[in-house]
């Protein structure tokens, strides 16, 4: 394993671990606030119960997310000192705003968790709302950094150094809006369906009917609309990629030759040596239509670009297909949910097959999320700043990077297992004695 690959793998593992917790920190507070708001409106104790259970989950994930976030802020420098040396001044502003948002989130989460009996109901709910908003704001700020790496702006390159740095313009880059909308929606989709899946699992086993029913209802009320809007948001983002990162689009779609009226290929693996796609079904004109809203638009193929600017084709292509598949399934499931709630408002959750479907769909949102990050991050390679700076030029000169990679990977694997066991414990413990509660 080369050092650059080890460094990239370590960064990937850290990001993939942290994203799960970061996303839960964005969407879980929204759920607990919705539940508490329902309680204040209806005074049904079961809603309060739900808010408390969800708050407990939020606290664990927030704690682990805070630690893994600290690690990431160091790893940026430890693994990519060349990047930080040149870009530190540019991305410092969104990062400090992200830190501020995290600080606000931590403080108000503290007020929310420990201030229930000390502040008025309205203030308590407002504190929860601030947690949710600050969580989303910190996601948006981190996205500003990543968007800048994909669509760099706000500086002038002279002799390998960045001059005339304008951090505000860098932050307001063109990719920021579509990327952050896509990310925040993804958080709502992934967390909403995962929570619904967990509660569907318990409901399927015949536990605490009403508690779990309401939980599924609330989480899907958040996730299902988000899953449908996500299609529009994904389309906007894909158009941005088509315009600004043609190599990435070509790699995603397996488009080797420049072509007008390009097809969308379902399935199939890219063969870089032959320059063709193996297998798969072609839907003519669809790619041109989707990417440029014109069935005859020309899509630039990989062959137009030097080979050393191609991203790794296979992982990008697989992740792209996986993300689209999961997103499509979840959007379809959202329509099914809406239809069932409309047609059978009282027993929409009754059939076992529907609960099974929700349970199976539980992890899909997170799979789509991870796959989406592989698409955007691996799809940007070999650049760390698209078109400006290569990843290989920024890696630390430290040798034997496979050692920290293995250590951190082992650490995160163990932590994931432990967190999963703890959450399982919380879910299971939430239940006995529950029959008494209406």
């Amino acid at each position: 394993m080369t050092d650059i690959l080890a460094a990239r793998s370590q960064m990937a593992v850290s990001l993939m671990f942290h994203i799960v917790f970061a996303v839960i920190g964005v969407a879980m507070p929204a759920l607990m606030v919705i539940a508490e708001w329902r309680w204040q409106r209806t005074r049904e104790a079961v809603y309060l119960d739900l808010a408390k259970q969800w708050a407990k989950g939020t606290a664990i994930f927030f704690a682990v997310g805070a630690v893994s976030g600290t690690v990431l802020s160091f790893e940026l420098g430890l693994l990519w000192p060349g990047f930080m040396k040149h870009a530190g001044a540019i991305i410092g502003m969104p990062f400090s705003l992200e830190g501020l948002a995290f600080f606000v989130e931590a403080i108000f989460l503290g007020i929310y968790l420990y201030g229930f009996e000390r502040v008025s109901e309205k203030v308590h709910l407002a504190a929860g709302l601030v947690v949710a908003i600050a969580g989303a704001a910190s996601a948006v700020m981190v996205m500003a950094v990543n968007a800048w790496m994909n669509a760099p702006t706000g500086f002038r390159l002279a002799d390998g150094t960045f001059t005339d740095i304008d951090p505000v313009q860098a932050m307001l880059n063109t990719a920021w809006l579509p990327m952050s909308v896509h990310m925040v929606l993804a958080a709502f989709v992934a967390v909403g369906f995962a929570v619904a899946g967990v509660h569907a699992w318990r409901l399927r086993q015949g536990r605490r009917e009403r508690f779990h029913r309401l939980a599924i209802g609330l989480s899907l009320a958040m996730a299902a609309p988000a899953a449908l809007i996500q299609i529009v948001s994904g389309d906007l983002l894909a158009q941005h990629v088509a315009e600004h990162q043609p190599i990435k689009l070509a790699a995603l779609e397996g488009q080797f030759a420049t072509q007008s009226g390009a097809p969308v290929r379902l399935g199939g693996l890219p063969d870089a040596e032959q320059g063709t796609m193996k297998g798969g079904i072609e839907i003519p004109y669809l790619l041109s239509l989707l990417a440029f809203h014109d069935p005859n638009a020309t899509v630039r193929g990989l062959s137009e670009f030097p080979r050393d600017q191609w991203p790794p084709l296979l992982p990008v292509r697989l992740a792209w297909e996986l993300m689209l598949a999961c997103g499509t399934i979840l959007a379809a499931l959202s329509l099914l949910v809406a239809w069932r709630r409309w047609r059978r408002p009282n027993e929409w959750l009754r059939p076992r097959w529907f609960l099974t479907a929700l349970m199976v769909a539980g992890p899909l949102g997170f799979i789509a999320l991870e796959a989406g990050w592989i698409v955007t991050e691996v799809g940007r390679q070999p650049w760390i700043i698209y078109g400006v700076m290569r990843t290989a030029d920024t890696v630390t000169p430290m040798p034997h990077l496979e050692v920290p990679f293995i250590v951190f990977t082992a650490l995160y694997v163990v932590l994931s297992v432990v967190v999963a066991l703890l959450i399982r414990g919380i879910v299971l413990r939430a239940e006995p004695n529950r029959t008494a509660v209406p």
Binding site: K56, S73, F102, L113, G425
Partner: protein, 385 residues
């Protein structure tokens, strides 16, 4: 203004790092004392440490991250050089931070299993000791000007940049300093006389050790460049800090030794508060319903305190202070996190009456075996002759 901008930013970073040392340092120190918990009360010591760290345990890293962000945004080339030369100790510190934060949460959430709890506790304690040690090494390496890059490679090598007597002495000094901080804070975190005494003794030991290690570090500083040593030890900018440090050191040790007298005063106040179990409460006789003072008395009575009519103005003030601190320290504000961390089920419903404000958001259904010492009643027992 712009001429002093670098100094100003460095000052801001310095303030943030000092806040990190004072706030998170005490948390690390708590972990050190968890590792060195000895004697008949070691379980209570550990419970007290967990209790004290509880509500805020990872939020303090915000200061480190803030300093880091300011660092790379303002001095990117220096940041890059530090990150290359200090890759190994910083990676160890990160592993320590991850293990520490997670182990603390897992120990608390673990739910019942004593063996698992001990295992997480051991990891928490070990990580809390190693992390400040390596962070101290990094500070020492920077202070000794050991970081030089020659064509992007550290001139002294990836180990030589920090593996030297002076940085290691600073590492030990950091651990000792954090333990001192934690021990001093912990004496104020409990009302249990024996526990207090334990941590007072530990604070004194840590204070002496810190002084000795500081002296060793000063002697070893000659391996830094001559310029660096002069700046560290004899420059006029350093002088106020040396005076301040010396004065604080003397102050801490004096307070530690004199705390018997102080405690007399403190317990004098406490004794008059009846500390919660009600046994010593002398309830004021038939307070008139209208007067504000009577209402205050009733309130104090409700909160578990008594009101002696004979007490002087000063002692009622101190008494009120005591009661306030008692109230704010007592079960209500810390129980929720304890309960949450224990992963207990929720029983508390929101009380309808605004007066009954003690029911926590998330409360424990049954007293957990490892709950921290109920302060108030212990204080009473200790105060009883």
């Amino acid at each position: 203004m712009t001429a002093f901008l670098p100094e100003l930013i460095a000052l801001i970073m310095g303030i943030a790092l000092n806040l990190y040392v004072v706030l998170a340092g005490a948390d690390f120190g708590g972990g050190v004392w968890d590792l060195f918990a000895t004697g008949p009360r070691r379980r209570q010591q550990r419970a007290l440490i967990a209790h004290a760290i509880g509500p805020i345990w990872e939020a303090n890293h915000v200061w480190l991250v803030f300093a880091l962000v300011v660092f790379f945004a303002s001095f990117p080339p220096a940041f890059s050089a530090y990150m290359i030369a200090l890759h190994i100790p910083l990676s160890v510190a990160l592993i320590g931070i991850v293990l520490r934060g997670s182990a603390f949460a897992f120990r608390s959430y673990g739910g019942g299993d004593g063996a698992a709890e001990n295992r997480w506790g051991a990891i928490f304690a070990a990580a809390s000791t190693v992390t400040p040690f390596v962070l101290g090494i990094c500070v020492g390496a920077v202070a000794a000007e050991r970081i030089h890059l020659v064509s992007n490679i550290p001139a002294r090598g990836f180990f030589g940049s920090w593996l030297a007597p002076f940085p290691i002495a600073v590492g030990f000094l950091t651990v000792s300093l954090f333990s001192l901080l934690a021990a001093v804070y912990l004496t104020m975190e409990t009302a249990d006389r024996d526990l207090r005494e334990d941590f007072r003794a530990r604070a004194l030991v840590a204070a002496v050790l810190t002084g000795a290690l500081a002296l060793i570090a000063a002697l070893l500083s000659e391996e830094a460049t001559l310029e660096g040593r002069k700046l560290l030890l004899f420059s006029s900018q350093a002088l106020p800090f040396h005076v301040l440090t010396g004065a604080s050191a003397i102050g801490v040790i004096a307070c530690g030794c004199e705390s018997i007298r102080w405690r007399g005063f403190w317990w004098g106040c406490r004794r008059r508060c009846s500390c919660g179990d009600g046994s010593r409460a002398s309830i004021p006789t038939s307070p008139s319903r209208s007067s504000p003072s009577a209402r205050l008395r009733r309130r104090m009575h409700r909160s578990g305190s008594s009101f002696s009519p004979r007490s002087s103005a000063l002692s009622s003030w101190s008494q009120a202070l005591c009661c306030c601190s008692e109230r704010s320290e007592s079960s209500a504000d810390r129980r929720p996190i304890e309960a949450m961390l224990k992963g207990d089920r929720v029983v508390g419903r929101r009380p309808s009456s605004a007066h009954d404000s003690r029911a926590p958001f998330i409360s424990r259904s049954s007293p957990a075996p490892r709950s921290p010492p109920p302060r108030a009643s212990r204080a009473c027992r200790a105060a009883r002759p």
